[in-house]
Symmetry: C4
Subunit: 216 residues, 4 copies
């Protein structure tokens, strides 16, 4: 892949972001959270640009060349590659949360199933789990951590509008699900965002298990 970078982004800088994204993608793929070329990942480079995964690549084998540059309107910069179909969801997050540096979207079995199960409610209420503390703003284990579930659509503009409406509420938000699809989460560093993702996967899995067990 040929990637022409703007003068403000040195080659080494972009390469470092690309390597970091590719490594995270391979590790998440190894956990089975990115089936069949699904999922996408990005990092903010500066106020106007982000690095993001090229559409349709196998995440288990991702390398530096599978990462491309976009601007905050989701346009490809300096390359003919096509960014992920859901790029608009990444740039929406960077625009609304100035402190967001990383966006991870995965597609695990637990995430997909939870999104279907709670789609009618529009939200998953998580309560009573110690691990909620891994999400900023939810220190006490008895607080309620709400993860919204948005209806799926192939029209990104529609999805962006749904999310904007929810975001205009005042609740802290660090993640959302899309029905039948997967999770989006973000944070101020790759390390923090991976921790959010790991905690949310765990919490959703526990919630589903408990539901089946309580009905038994």
């Amino acid at each position: 892949m040929i990637q022409h970078l703007p003068a403000t982004i040195p080659d080494e800088l972009f390469a470092a972001f690309a390597d970091s994204l590719a490594k995270a993608a391979r590790e998440l793929a190894a956990q089975g959270w990115t089936p069949a070329t699904s999922s996408n990942f990005s990092m903010r480079i500066n106020e106007e640009h982000a690095a993001i995964t090229v559409s349709g690549r196998d995440k288990a084998r991702l390398g530096r060349d599978d990462i491309m540059l976009i601007d905050m309107d989701g346009r490809a910069i300096g390359t003919d590659s096509r960014p992920s179909a859901e790029t608009a969801l990444h740039t929406q997050i960077y625009r609304r949360w100035p402190e967001a540096q990383v966006v991870l979207h995965t597609h695990s079995r637990t995430q997909s199933v939870a999104s279907r199960l709670f789609a009618a409610d529009g939200v998953v209420h998580l309560r009573g789990w110690e691990l909620q503390k891994a999400i900023p703003g939810y220190t006490p284990h008895d607080s309620v951590l709400d993860i919204p579930v948005f209806p799926n659509t192939q029209q990104m503009a529609e999805l962006v509008a749904h999310i904007d409406a929810w975001l205009d509420s005042d609740k802290p938000l660090h993640a959302y699900l899309i029905d039948g699809h997967g999770i989006y989460t973000w944070g101020s560093s790759m390390e923090e965002t991976r921790r959010h993702l790991e905690a949310l996967e765990f919490l959703l899995a526990c919630e589903l298990d408990l539901r089946v067990l309580r009905a038994s």
Copy 2:
């Protein structure tokens, strides 16, 4: 194993097909999808020939010598080895889909259980999952992806006839289940076929989870 090849198939060509099949088999075995020497795999070499796994071998340890040549009637060519018992299902696919280059048949826990659960219906209806997009012809997530389930029998001719009847419908088809048994899927390359298989395993697993959760 001694394999005498026809003049139209150079040694190196057959070896490349055999290596590709053996590698795929070992990787699928590592995921636990080929228990106790079950499962079989093939690749079309030309209009008249395919490479296929020899019957009864441990897929976790498969090598080049565990792959043999057959013609499109399923007869062993240039070897005394016995091809998989279900060879007729592979050649049926190659005859009906000129673009099919690879057939993978695995036997995961999810595939086996789903085949039993939906055997009476004769079909699994998949709907509402984003990952359906991994199967050609099902771009919108709200389309219905039907995976037929055929009754199991040790008589291959009977099974071939069942499948032929279904195939005469006009629906796109990229996979079927056999009751109590496993899945068959195919595609135009090893990469595409692996992607189909990975997506179908994921979709079936999600569908089963959701069924238990919705009853809770």
Copy 3:
């Protein structure tokens, strides 16, 4: 461990058996089927002797020195080590099946749970699974493969008597469960016995999954 061997068993022969058992134990431990030093494994050396795992060792780290010699009454030969508490079950199998060369007893979650669930029935009926063909005598998938479940007891003589009573029936038998405990299976080689064990674990897991799904 000091092991004095009878003249009829050369050092190299015993070492080969011990290495084969230790390797199988480590591989089964890696699958999580031998929790907390449970499980035991043996191989027949000749009509009068078998090699068996020493009691209480961590199966994930098993080596040649964790294997000892016993006679067919379960007595330690040429060593002060204590054989597995359930040695009498191994020697019973060798006495009753002259063709049995290997006995594997594991303790997976699926095996333990299935044994509890079907303890009151005294048997697990497996029917309709293609993989039943992995067990000799069950070629057609629509035959019924019965796995008896015996009540657990710390008195081996009692357990041996229970098993003897069942064995006096005429059915083929290649495995049994003990309530709350695990599975015993055997075969004419390590390869065949591993195949039996892998198939039975798979079949029991499918049967449990299907039961929950059918109730949904």
Copy 4:
């Protein structure tokens, strides 16, 4: 991390304890039992001191520098690092059981779900599982092994008092759960404590599976 050690604890001794803890932490993290920097681990060094994990570190990457010294009141000794928030639970165990040398606290999906499910009862009754024998004092498989479940709280003093009240009963005790949280277990060596933890995880998982299956 700079760690100033008292004269009674040579550098090499502390390093050996730290390495042992870090290795156990990495292995337990690899099993997925320490999601999102949760879990903590300690070893008694002498009557007055223990080594314990520093708060908030990723257990999958734990090294010698992530282990610090505390006294038996839970105070950091010779370092500015902050010990785990739940240090008081570790020192309580060392004070009450003179033979306890190791305390492991993990946070697996099974442990978290079981703690929620049985929180109202305040106890998990385990009965009928052969693997109960892995816990000292429960030799016969038909004894009842009770694992108490304590209410979760961010106030350690409250939790310590709850646990003290339970401990004043005469039952043998080798583990407890905290609601929505995870398990604490201990033993006279790292090997024994790992065996307890592995057995308890297995027993809880079996108990949950059986509950769902019995309701089917």
